[in-house]
Subunit: 317 residues, 2 copies
């Protein structure tokens, strides 16, 4: 089955167009988990990786029947070296075993032959011993468009061959995203609009039964005006929306990335879910031991927040 | 010591502005090495990683006293999973132990807080157990500029704090690089020129005694005309030039990225050095067992090739 059809089926099943970001920092993890890992593994990156694995698995246990997908920020794993990558691999496998879709947020990019190697690592398979083997085996990967089509095609080929997806950076959520992405071109358009046109074009070869493509886009919730424009340019792209919550984007902002069918976007929250147990809203109710329940309650609150923003959008449009 | 001053000192010492790309593919590795690893490690990614490590170390042994730096393409290691990352780490450490500078070619990019995590992984240090530890500890990293300054600043901070360097993608060597990079802006300039201006500006905070910055740029040998223009825009950026050899760029093309002082660029060759033993030029002389000597001879040939192209440039300019 096509990635995008799997994603939409899961979004509909849970009535929840959101993604839980598992971008662990050690300070997000309750002391008890970190101490236990330190005792058992003697500190260092091995203990850090074990703490992350325990934390992630408990979050997945608390979320898998209400949230369709997780997004793993690769940098947060790479910073703990080989042990960190082991935590990444174990988290991917565990989330998939629980039926969640896994988005590897790696923003990978390179020339064609090298993009192929990246795609083997995260989406496709690596040839070995006369056969082929999955490596990290995520369901989707974020990709940077700066190199143009021949750097993106290998990923699209794996979308097609292995039922995977990609989300291409179009308008990122950070403050200085405009420095390059908002440059105005000769024909009076922004670079992010040009990239959106390319995403729309590139996605046409991997359409799902749903009418959406397995080639999606990244558009930050922090740029709602641009999101409205981009939604129209990339009619069939699913938009992955970062920037909700801790980065300042609201559900109303994120709603701009949806189509009138109530589909077309998924909203990611990382810190607000992972650190719900530390937040003003949930800390008193749950404390450190109830971090997973706090994450679940926050995920439910977020879902309702999105529902009500989409409702308002329907009424006002 | 500043990264760029270290690089320039090494280039001068070996009279060689070139970089050996260690972007291993199993088919580049002599059969005997692969078979031995398979026998000892029972096949799979562990045997692949061991074969890569043996191959890389022998290449480093053959090159370290004539070539100043190696460039490791991360995708080629990630495609073998955790074992591949172990091969990456061991190769980095071995090359540094032999006095070579290590450029991690990862084209990483993300919003500020995440770029920080990437920078910890490859350039800086990761906080752990109340202290800090180096992770992969390369000397430099390639970085993609699509997110603008706040996604690049964390890397520059580590250049400054830890004597490291970055090379920012400006004009990449692949065929479709123009799709985004050659878009003409409102003021009649190309996107790659705009990015070059940013690179020049961003680099001003990490200048070496040499007058060059530790913030460099990537400009493909396959675009010599653009290289001439970019050389003038980024006067103080060191340019990492991919695309020489197997990708079709000549020494004359690559020479466009040098300044009149004979400095300002380093030229990478991967396949032509790693696979020298398979090439028409060296296969007969060396065969499989002499792959490291073939690589050395090819590196010497490349150095002479660059010298003569720079000589011609001096005479003609």
């Amino acid at each position: 089955m096509n990635f995008i059809d799997k994603l939409i089926a899961a979004v509909k099943k849970y009535e929840n167009p959101s993604v839980a970001g598992l971008d662990p920092r050690l300070e997000y993890i309750p002391e008890a988990i970190r101490e236990k890992a330190s005792r058992e593994y003697g500190g260092g990156f091995t203990a850090a990786a074990e703490a992350i694995i325990t934390f992630n698995k408990k979050l997945i246990d608390a979320l898998y029947d209400i949230v369709p997908a997780v997004k793993l920020q690769l940098a947060c794993y790479e910073m703990y070296g080989i042990e960190g990558m082991r935590a990444f691999a174990e988290t991917c496998a565990y989330a998939r075993s629980k039926g969640m879709l896994v988005i590897a947020d790696g923003k990978r990019n390179d020339i064609g032959s090298t993009a192929e190697a990246y795609s083997s690592a995260y989406l496709g398979k690596t040839p070995i011993d006369g056969s082929e083997r999955s490596v990290f085996d995520a369901d989707a990967l974020t990709v940077n468009p700066y190199l143009g089509y021949d750097g993106v095609k290998p990923f699209i080929d794996d979308c097609s061959a292995s039922g995977k997806g990609i989300f291409i950076l179009v308008k990122t959520s950070n403050k200085s995203s405009g420095q390059l992405q908002d440059i105005v071109t000769q024909d009076g358009r922004y670079i992010y609009e040009k990239v959106a046109e390319l995403v729309d074009e590139w996605g046409s070869s991997v359409m799902g039964c749903s009418g959406y493509s397995s080639v999606g886009a990244v558009v930050g919730a922090t740029y709602p005006q641009q999101a409205s424009v981009l939604r129209k340019i990339m009619k069939k792209a699913y938009i992955l929306v970062p920037g909700y919550g801790a980065q300042g984007g609201t559900a109303k902002d994120a709603a701009k990335s949806f189509n009138d069918d109530g589909l077309g976007a998924i909203i990611n929250a990382s810190r607000s879910i992972m650190c719900a147990w530390k937040s003003e809203r949930w800390a008193e109710k749950y404390g450190e031991d109830g971090f997973d329940q706090a994450a679940r309650d926050e995920a439910v609150r977020m879902r309702e927040d999105i529902h009500s923003a989409l409702e308002t959008k329907r009424e006002c449009d």
